[in-house]
């Protein structure tokens, strides 16, 4: 049995005829911070809810720290969902009391610490009066109060201003540094992710396109630039290519650098963008 924080083997999730996830297999190493990226509808949220036990896979299995996920959340997991569901009528203090009541293992001190970070959240404010940033902070406090060993974050940075984004990431990264938490976070904000993530899980149309250590992935890919009239010959896989009247740019996976082409290793943003573009091209070609 694989005891890694998350281990998925051939996981598929179908909603009727829609295949949200198909044959996904991967394992995340302990203590890693993994960026879960992919175009809208790639199955990111579905994957997170399968790991959290909110939904059941159609086939295949997910296990968390060696225990198969069956219908409920593993005690070591905390999930921040995209909608940040909180009881609107509760005050922040009451939300924290609810967190304590709903959990077997709960650190009021840890939750309180998270609430005090940044500008601090007013404990007596009603949840529905909070700003998007403060609301996310409360939701993260609720997640970290569980003292998770695996933290799942679904779009933790959406609807936050740049400052709050930066500070929210800092809260999470502090937890990683202090407690060695494994993190899997989905986001569209690649520039923010580059600094904090060491692993990448790239989904497209429910399938894993790329998974692994970011440095290794970047080394494995090349951005090649050459004159437009020359056919690109490579022993690697062309992920995506774009043409201008004068030159051709392509992202190539594996293989050796083609001779006569200008070849560099991409940065994370370039790599992900190329995959996203390729995904859209495939989708358009099918229509």
């Amino acid at each position: 049995m694989n005891a890694s924080p998350v281990h998925a083997s051939s996981v598929a999730k179908h909603f009727g005829r829609v295949r949200a996830l198909d044959d996904c297999s991967f394992a995340l190493p302990e203590g890693s911070v993994t960026a879960l990226v992919g175009p809208n509808g790639a199955g990111k949220s579905t994957l997170l809810s399968l790991i959290a036990g909110l939904a059941r896979p159609t086939s295949g299995s997910v296990s968390v720290r060696g225990t198969p996920v069956r219908g409920r959340m593993h005690p070591d997991v905390a999930l921040l969902t995209q909608k940040r569901p909180l009881y609107e009528q509760f005050t922040v203090r009451e939300v924290m009391r609810a967190g304590a009541a709903l959990n077997d293992r709960w650190s009021a001190a840890r939750a309180s610490e998270v609430l005090d970070l940044l500008a601090g959240v007013d404990r007596d404010a009603k949840v529905r009066t909070l700003s998007a940033g403060a609301r996310t902070q409360v939701a993260i406090a609720l997640a970290l109060g569980r003292l998770p060993k695996l933290l799942l974050l679904d779009e933790p940075l959406s609807d936050l201003d740049p400052l709050a984004r930066d500070e929210t990431l800092r809260i999470v990264m502090t937890d990683v540094a202090e407690r060695g938490t494994t993190v899997l976070l989905s986001s569209h904000l690649l520039t923010d992710l580059g600094d904090v993530c060491d692993h990448l899980l790239l989904l497209d149309e429910g399938r894993v396109q790329v998974v692994g250590d970011i440095d290794g992935i970047l080394v494995d890919h090349r951005v090649v630039v050459g004159p437009a009239e020359v056919e690109l010959e490579t022993d690697g896989v062309v992920v995506d290519s774009s043409h201008t009247p004068r030159q051709t740019t392509a992202l190539v996976r594996g293989g050796s650098a083609p001779s006569g082409w200008d070849s560099t290793h991409p940065d994370l943003e370039t790599l992900v963008m190329a995959y996203l573009r390729a995904s859209r091209t495939r989708k358009l070609a099918r229509q």
Binding site: F15, P75, P85, A101, L102
Partner: protein
């Protein structure tokens, strides 16, 4: 967990508590006023039995000012269970699913089953207690009016029956479980409210119209041919008709009565009409009456039906909450 549900339902509980205080104060005050009226009109004895003096002017005045008020109180006891189902039962889970807050609970340590059971019990119990208390208050008022109030219609009189015995609490249980089940199934508050109200009213009517099948009506015979209700007691008359001299039911009394209708507009005395009907084969009146002492049995049978349905809804609720997409 109990605290969380209590906190979530706080506005509901405040409404229930406030409603009960207002209802209790109103009913006790009205009841005291009514008792004073009884004394003033020398009608205290009329509460126990129908005396000749109880048909006098004082009695009529008394009924004019109090009967409808007491009736309204009974109707409130009949209506409140539906309100509990619609406003407490239906949104209980539907709103959580609609606002996504069920995910909040499901991503903590508590199991779905415990979450569901706690919500179900903590939100439901106060509503049941409210209905029981309201029923007792109204009952004390109805009893104080006695035969001068709705009780004159006997235990089967529709508001009296529905507001009495185990019925209000069981109707509430039925409406509440129906609401929570439909809410957890549809996951839409508005859908749940509409369905709960519709199904509740339909099933209440469907069972109420079959009430005579739950009891066994007793056939009472009467020599008074012209008045089917002569000397009738507090029981519920389900059917009336005529018997011939051999004691068999007359299938078509209309044809026997037809020759006795005078061709011109003249007053026919009761005696003459009776004699004429007797000549044409109508010997006795009969009526099938649901007896007063069967009221408890019918209450229990009806309660068993609704409690059974409530149990089914609870099982459905468990399934609806535990099922995963």
């Amino acid at each position: 967990m109990t605290w969380i549900v209590w906190r979530q339902q706080r506005p509901v509980f405040i409404t229930l508590a406030g409603g009960l205080v207002v209802a209790a104060a109103a009913i006790l005050l009205l009841r005291a006023g009514m008792l004073a009226d009884l004394k003033a009109g020398n009608l205290v004895d009329c509460v126990e039995q129908k005396l000749a003096v109880c048909r006098g002017k004082e009695a009529r005045e008394f009924q004019k000012s109090w009967y409808d008020l007491i009736h309204i109180a009974q109707i409130a006891v009949v209506v409140v269970p539906a309100l509990v189902g619609v406003f407490i039962g239906a949104p209980l889970f539907a709103r959580e699913f609609e606002q996504g807050t069920h995910v909040l609970a499901f991503t903590q340590s508590v199991s779905r089953t415990r979450w569901m059971a706690t919500k179900f019990v903590v939100a439901g119990l106060p509503a049941l207690l409210f209905v029981a208390a309201l029923q007792l208050l109204v009952r004390s008022w109805v009893n104080a009016a006695g035969k001068l109030g709705p009780l004159v219609g006997g235990p089967f009189y529709f508001t009296t029956f529905d507001a009495q015995g185990v019925s209000p609490v069981v109707y509430t249980l039925f409406a509440y479980t129906l609401g929570v089940f439909v809410g957890a199934l549809s996951r839409r508050t508005l859908v749940a409210i509409t369905l709960t109200l519709g199904v509740f009213v339909a099933s209440r009517i469907a069972v109420a119209v079959r009430r005579d099948e739950f009891g066994e009506p007793v056939r009472e015979l009467s020599p008074d041919l012209t008045d089917p209700y002569a000397g009738v007691g507090d029981g519920q008359v389900m059917d009336t008709g005529f018997l011939d001299a051999k004691g068999a039911v007359v299938a078509d009394p209309g044809s026997a009565q037809a020759p006795c209708v005078p061709s011109t507009r003249v007053e026919v005395s009761v005696e003459d009409r009776t004699a004429c009907w007797q000549q044409h084969g109508l010997a006795q009146r009969y009526r099938d009456v649901l007896q007063v002492d069967q009221a408890t049995t019918i209450h229990l049978l009806e309660a068993a039906i609704f409690a059974g349905l409530a149990a089914v809804f609870v099982l459905g609720l468990v399934w609806a909450v535990r099922r995963q997409s």
